[in-house]
């Protein structure tokens, strides 16, 4: 799964820790999602989408 998390985060000038705090997850989780090593669960994907004000499909795309 590809995602635009790193770009969206950079646009807001957030560090991985900033994003992790906003999502209520660990920095390692954000790092793993950004680097494509981990695909988030549906509830976490919804939380991410809600935080950025976008749909899930606008952030995550199948490879």
């Amino acid at each position: 799964m590809n995602n635009r998390l790193k770009v969206l985060r950079a646009e807001r000038n957030w560090s991985q820790q900033d994003l992790a705090d906003r999502l209520g997850v660990s920095r390692q989780s954000v790092n793993a999602i950004e680097t494509g090593k981990y695909d988030p669960s549906l509830p976490l994907a919804f939380t991410i989408a809600r935080l950025f004000g976008l749909s899930i499909e606008a952030i995550f795309q199948p490879e």
Partner: protein, 137 residues
């Protein structure tokens, strides 16, 4: 968040308490009982205390999986446990067969849990190799 996660704090607290209990119970059993002491309620009772401590360590691992609210960290911990379980099962089964068919020294069942704990380190390495340094301890 990893270090400050309440689930990890509770896990280390439980593991610390059960480890201290384990060491104290092993020393107490060693001083109170001779090796292969005759069967009695007292001997069984004293010898069971270290086992209770080991059970508390297993409980600490189980509670970590339940209480860890970060899904990625939980995945890492479960992967570590799976690697440890696979290595322990494979190692003990292979050694057991060697014991049956050859003259290798018997492996006391006592070693199964320490071997599993060593397997956790292998699981940590597996996580680091497959998921990188972003994949915590």
């Amino acid at each position: 968040m990893t270090k400050h996660n309440p689930a990890y704090r509770a896990y280390y607290r439980r593991l610390g308490i059960s480890s201290v209990l384990y060491v104290a119970a092993v020393f107490a059993a060693s001083s109170l009982l001779h090796h292969r002491a005759p069967l009695s309620v007292f001997a069984v009772g004293v010898a069971l205390v270290p086992g209770i401590a080991v059970s508390l360590m297993v409980f600490a691992f189980a509670r970590l999986f339940v209480e860890l609210d970060d899904e990625y960290l939980r995945l890492l911990e479960v992967r570590k446990a799976l690697v440890a379980t696979a290595l322990t099962l494979a190692g003990c089964s292979v050694w057991g067969l060697l014991e049956i068919f050859t003259a290798v020294p018997p492996l006391p069942v006592f070693w199964v849990f320490p071997l599993w704990c060593m397997g956790l380190f292998a699981g940590t390495l597996f996580n680091r190799v497959t998921l990188g340094t972003g994949g915590c301890m």
